[in-house]
Symmetry: none
Subunit: 188 residues, 4 copies
């Protein structure tokens, strides 16, 4: 998972850094490169060599989740039922966002530090675009919904689930909110 042309020890460092950062992200601590160096028991310089900014590191942390999401997206594209395909994809997305704090930040950020991130976000975006197109063609989603709305709406749902107190129920809450969004709060 570290970039290919890397000496073995350098690769080991790369992994250690990302692992430490992952832990920090999970416990909600903001990433500080000095701090990470200390915890990973290496010099700051080493961390900076691998990740010029905290954003770059955060993206590296988020990458596996983004890749998994992209993979699920490909599968969704294979689904015959356009409504189900889109719903599945959105569900996965939400679950990932709520589960992995790195994701929401990276997803909502307007610019990226790593090319790989841009690539993955682009992939996800076009998968979403395609799934939405099909769903619209099948007339299962409201016509005023544009591809540009998907990311914001997912980020919004994830944000909502985080505002809601109970951290333990977060995934469950997020699922409920997504269902509500898909089906509508109002009964018709």
């Amino acid at each position: 998972m570290p970039p290919a042309p890397l000496r073995k020890d350098a690769a080991r460092n790369w992994e250690r850094i990302v692992a430490v950062a992952r832990d920090l992200v999970d416990e909600g601590t903001p990433l500080q490169l000095n701090d990470i160096a200390r915890r990973a028991r290496m010099g700051v310089g080493t961390v900076y060599r691998h990740f010029p900014t905290a954003e770059a590191l955060l993206e590296a942390v988020a990458t596996p989740s983004l890749e998994a999401l992209a993979a699920h997206g490909e599968q969704a594209l294979a689904d015959d039922d356009p409504g189900r395909a889109l719903a599945d994809f959105l569900t996965r997305t939400i679950e990932a966002q709520v589960t992995d704090a790195a994701l929401s930040t990276v997803t909502a950020a307007p610019t990226d530090a790593l090319p790989r991130t841009t690539e993955l976000k682009r992939t996800l975006s076009s998968v979403g675009r395609e799934l939405l197109r099909r769903a619209r063609d099948a007339e299962v989603v409201r016509p005023d919904l544009t591809p540009e709305d998907l990311v914001p709406l997912m980020c919004g749902i994830a944000y909502a689930a985080n505002v809601h107190g109970a951290p333990a129920a977060r995934v469950e809450t997020a699922r409920r909110y997504l269902t509500a969004l898909l089906e509508g709060l109002y009964i018709r």
Copy 2:
């Protein structure tokens, strides 16, 4: 609008501080009391005297919006049509949140710096609770929606509208998102 027992000059300063803070909030700058003192051309101590923390100041900035919202809430309670009443209230809420950056922060914060804020948030919360109760009794909203969901959902919508790029269209986008949430993304 400054707290009642305040000398005229002190009240003037209070206003200046809040005005400067309002500008900063509007341009998206985080509030720093030192910075505000400089811009308001007064000593730091003066700012600290009026607002012991940046949170307190932010809440003071948000108060008018919160009050307006509360007033609208009271009106909504007078509406006969439970569905429309709730929808109106939520619409106002969203519009306010998107229009006033201070609001979303204050609303999402788990604790308050000013008693007035707590009071207003409590009012809004109970208005929402009542409107939701009526709507549920009239069976116009999905039954799994609880009063605790309203604030998170509104914050989520506002957040979504902000993630979506175009700042100019933000209110419009937020309205669209709210409609989508109310009616559902999916057509049934």
Copy 3:
């Protein structure tokens, strides 16, 4: 106890300030005029009018103790037994210093803020000088002890009692230390 030519309300303020300061001294809080004004529920200006500096206030707080000490000094001067007279006086002094935190500071200070303080310190100093002279004449104290040593030694004993952990036993400890000083640590 407030200076004579003072309007009744001003005198009341003077008393309140000193009372508040006394409480603070007793609980070991350093005197801050702003703080005192708040606790005494009056403007800072009022406090400053009465006491231009924290030192002046501290001396006002210490004055009663100094006066009591001076009174005891006069009594000691009436005692026939020079050794007992000096020992009594020193005992009183130590007890006062340890009991009243204001005293040790004021006593050790090289300069005074209030004329009254200077006057009292001078009185005490000459009482001590006289008691010491008599004791020396009676050859009950070591001849190398000068009047200038009395204040430092008493301050030292008080300080020692304060360094010693147990605050509850402070008076007792101070008495022990004084006895030790008078009789000598070493047995001859």
Copy 4:
């Protein structure tokens, strides 16, 4: 004298900081880390890296004196004459305290910032305890004197010598006071 695993340049800085602090201590100026950074012509961060608090720095300044004292203590333990041994040790202690302003503060402080300080204080304390025990066994000191009294009494003597005074004569004064304490002010 800087802690062992330190790069040469870092060690140089460590020395500079301690040297500057030593000067300040000697001239009675309270230690302020920013101030020290300025005088040592280095960034504040450097000072903070080496000494997280002013207390830590002060203890570093005091360490040599403490070590010298501890060494003398070991020598005193080798002395056959219990009375002389204790008196010598106390004399050294007093001289050090009066000579080095850092010492009295560090000695009187109830808690330490550096482990080394704790260690040294413990050593000194147990040396004192042992010397006192021997002196008591030999019945040369008053029986009510406990090991816990030694530190307070020495601090008290040092304080007394500093209260009034010709700074030049301070060591001489302190010696006189110690003698007085040992032999008693009163002639028997």
